[in-house]
Symmetry: C2
Subunit: 196 residues, 2 copies
């Protein structure tokens, strides 16, 4: 008997892996890591495979890439498939654990092209990452028409209470430019509030 | 060449489909819908397939089930695989859209055994549902050791601003009892903050 409900599958766009350096490549600085993330966001626009958002999980100490992610909401028919969710899920799938803080290594870091929306922010503590670095601000995403949702005003402090350090505004101008490029290219601005 | 990053797959536990009535079954009242959700949460404990949480998406007007979900975090190695996220994703997969409000029907309703954590709350507006019904409260989940995260204190109003109605405390006692049963059975309480 065929199942009534099919599995939900989240998959990176076909072009993505060929854009990555070798698995042992060291992304030594925060700027190196954000540079990769912004390049993937730009490529996601160019290939028309999703929204102008990218993220990646790195080994905090060594600087190796554990997993990348880009926004694949529309292509995947999945509103949860934001870049941060994809990166975290790919990293957990790769390491076969739901907790990226459980590996006894130096910890993991999530680098995202835009500060997380309310959903992705809520996902950060569950993920087990120990560090979050953000490029553009929430208001830069709202400025092109996305609704990033309602976040606690003290969200940075709330993460730090849970043992997660936060760095905002890393390469913010470059990150915000990626958003503007998307808007100018006529990319879809989706929100879950289309009128009935 | 084998891909470096495998697809992430979210799949309902093997026992779940056989517990559902026929696809045209009408869940006429909120209590009927919550009844199904609480039964699936209990079965998820009994079968040891995940945390004590369940949710489902219904057609708001007809009362038919669009898709169920249960917590499959540990089994799926995926911290995003909370019941609400699974139910919404299964519904979107089934209807082939990232926006459950885009179908021109009377709208869709998410019924969840416990009020959403910060992540799942943030996911609600993106999902396109028009109605949210919650059983147990966040504090009932926190009471058995989960960390539901930091939510805006006015989260109900924030959803209603986005056109989503909220009903809390439906069958709260029965829903909280499911959580207690899990705790007493020695079920795993996971949080993404295991010390390094």
């Amino acid at each position: 008997m065929n199942p009534r409900f099919s599995a939900v599958t989240l998959q990176l766009p076909h072009w993505l892996e060929s854009e990555l350096p070798a698995a042992d490549h060291i992304f030594a600085t925060p700027e190196d890591r954000m540079g990769l993330v912004l390049r993937l966001a730009s490529l996601n626009i160019k290939h028309q495979t999703g929204g102008p958002f990218s993220a990646a999980v790195f080994d905090l100490e060594s600087g190796t890439l554990i997993a990348p992610g880009v926004n694949i909401v529309v292509a995947s028919h999945a509103s949860i498939a934001h870049a941060e969710m994809v990166a975290v899920s790919m990293a957990q799938r790769s390491l076969l654990t739901h907790d990226l803080g459980s590996l006894g290594n130096s910890g993991t870091q999530l680098v995202t092209s835009v500060a997380p929306c309310a959903m992705c922010l809520g996902a950060v503590p569950w993920s087990g990452v120990r560090s979050l670095i953000c490029g553009a601000r929430e208001e830069d995403a709202n400025a092109i028409g996305f609704d990033e949702g309602s976040k606690p005003t003290d969200w940075v402090a709330q993460l730090e209470t849970r043992g997660i350090t936060v760095q905002n505004d890393l390469m913010r101008d470059a990150a915000a430019n990626v958003l503007k490029t998307y808007k100018e290219s006529g990319g879809a601005i989706y929100n879950g509030r289309s009128p009935n």
